[in-house]
Amino acid sequence: MKISFPHMGNLAIGVSGAVRALGGDVVLPPYTNKRTLSLGAKYSPEAICLPYKLVLGNYIEAIEAGAEALLMIDSPGTCRLGQYSDIARIALTDLGYNNVEFINFDLYKGKLFEIYSGFKYATGNGNPLDLIYAVRIGILKIKIADKFDKLLNYYRAREIEIGSADKKYNKAIALVDKALTLKECNDAFQFGAESISGVEIDTKKQVLNVDITGEIYVVLDKFSNMEIEKELGKLGVQAHRQINLTDWIDKSLYPSILRFGETHGEKAHKLAREFIKRDVGGDTVESIGDTAFAAASKNTDGVVHLLPFTCMPEIISQNILPNVRNEKDIPVLSLVMDEYTGKAGFVTRLEAFVDLIQRRKNSKDQVGVLLS
């Protein structure tokens, strides 16, 4: 059975790694692009959020590429995400794609069992040991990719020749994608980390630090957020992505008994309590907590809050963030992404924001000098 799944940041590297380790056959749709969006938007309801349109576009392109089964997570996010697969199934049936199977990982029902039965069905390999190995490979690959992203953001903001860090990063990611065993993954990580660290940088450059938070899909997906990390890097800003797949895996996939220490979500919840008392689904509490956290840390100069248009939970955080901004004294830029967002206007707003936090930092430094 040829298996496919939608893109979301580094998810494809991990899932295809796990499926391949089990001996399954993966058909990847092309990385989300303009055609994906126009296909998805054409067959979606008008007022639905951007991620659904892209996911549906991914499905259609995957079926065109020959996929026979589609993987989908019904995560207990309790926003519209939980109904994506259901609505997509109706849309695909109406399009005439009747032979496609949906394999749902319903995380409501119990994490381990759903992962086991889902992968067993998809790949035909029911050996629990193989499965544990495959899941380990998948998770390791995602974690390595996230670490590379962090490294890349550090070097991209400081590189002397623009684009050199990206070249090394692409090579390193390709190597991780090819790796078949845990050892190969670790080797690829060693090699990639060294190669990205080898980029020539200007060590004396004063770099601004901006945290990126918001709705998980647009924060992770490079197409829908217009490669915001790269754009910030070009402006000499080191982006810190606060919402990562690594954290999401720690939060949602690991059974709570096997978890040690405080996850990112728990930390954010604690900080957000001052402003929002109850969980409202999605990543709202994380967004607010991350902003409060950024205000508390000395190194962070500003926060960019990303959300898709009509996202229900993030509208709550968009309403509450001005209050956080005033009380905690931290610049926040909320950017709403939809299919009509133009790149030029987007970059202009980022530039204005970076100018603002640069001036703010300079004046703060001056006050610091005067006081000392």
């Binding site: 519209r80 969980d279 309403n319």
Partner: protein, 355 residues
Amino acid sequence: MKIGIPRALGYYNYYPFWFGFFGSLGIEVVLSDRTTKKLVSEGSALVVSETCLPVKIYMGHVLNLLEKKGVDIIYSPSIQSIDHKIYNCSKLRGLPDLVRNVVKKDFLLIEPTLDKSEKNQGLYQYLYESVAPLGITDKKAIKQASKVGWAYQNNYIGMAKDGMHPMEAMETALKGKVVIKSRKSDYPISIAVLAHGYNLYDDHISMKVFKKLENLGVKAYTSENLSAEQMQEGLNVLNTNLYWANELEISGAAGSFMTNKKIDGVLTITAFGCGPDSLMIERITRYAKRLQKPLLNLTVDEHTGEAGFITRIEAFTDMLFRRKRASIIQNLNKQVEIDLEREEISHSRETIVKV
């Protein structure tokens, strides 16, 4: 002691209960004024423009209570989930948090939480949280008061199901009466009007759609006319399970009405940017095509003009009238054909007998 309840969102579904509950505990309930244009624009100024219309209106009502009605206690509940893992929309879940963060005034916010997915957040805990900030902590009295509340609520639901306009039913129920009216029943066309109560019964949002339909000679049915079981069956028609806390009144009712032969068409009214509705309407639209039921989706926001709204409803009813006429004529023609055939047969029999 006076508490203010905004005439928006939950008011349209639960007000008789709150009235009975608070009244029996000796708390006076103050309602905000009816929605006006000014109230909407004042509410919209508080929140970001992407927020949906009902929530903007809610903020306007909160302001109205604080500024015009002289109330300094606002009752704003958060209905998280109504059953295990059946959650509400994020904006309704975070409603008190939203009020606390955007209304920059000095007032006491009562923010009880009803969450059936959690163990200790059921109805009685919710009611306890509703009155504990006012100094009432006697659990027995609260239980007793909730019974009074349910009496009012059940009267309201009963009358609304019988076919009375829900707002009329609410007024009657608040007076403590139950009235069952005999109604004129010869309408040529029946339409099911599907929307959340807070959109449908707020005359500013729905632009008095019931009156307009009545003038056009159309009988309007709403989800209030159905029982919970009928709506549950409706969900099965649409091949889905309950996902949203307020899904029954849209998807469930749609499934039930679309398989009902008495109903000639379905009209849905949604607020722009409503998350749950976008998915429910998508499902209903696709199934309406499969079940061959005429469907009109209307999306409203604070800029919707009444003229355009009415024109579309008129065009839709015109279409339904034509469709009905055509089907009646078709049926008549069929009947005539059958009659003719019969005549021929009997005629030929007669000739055979004669021969």
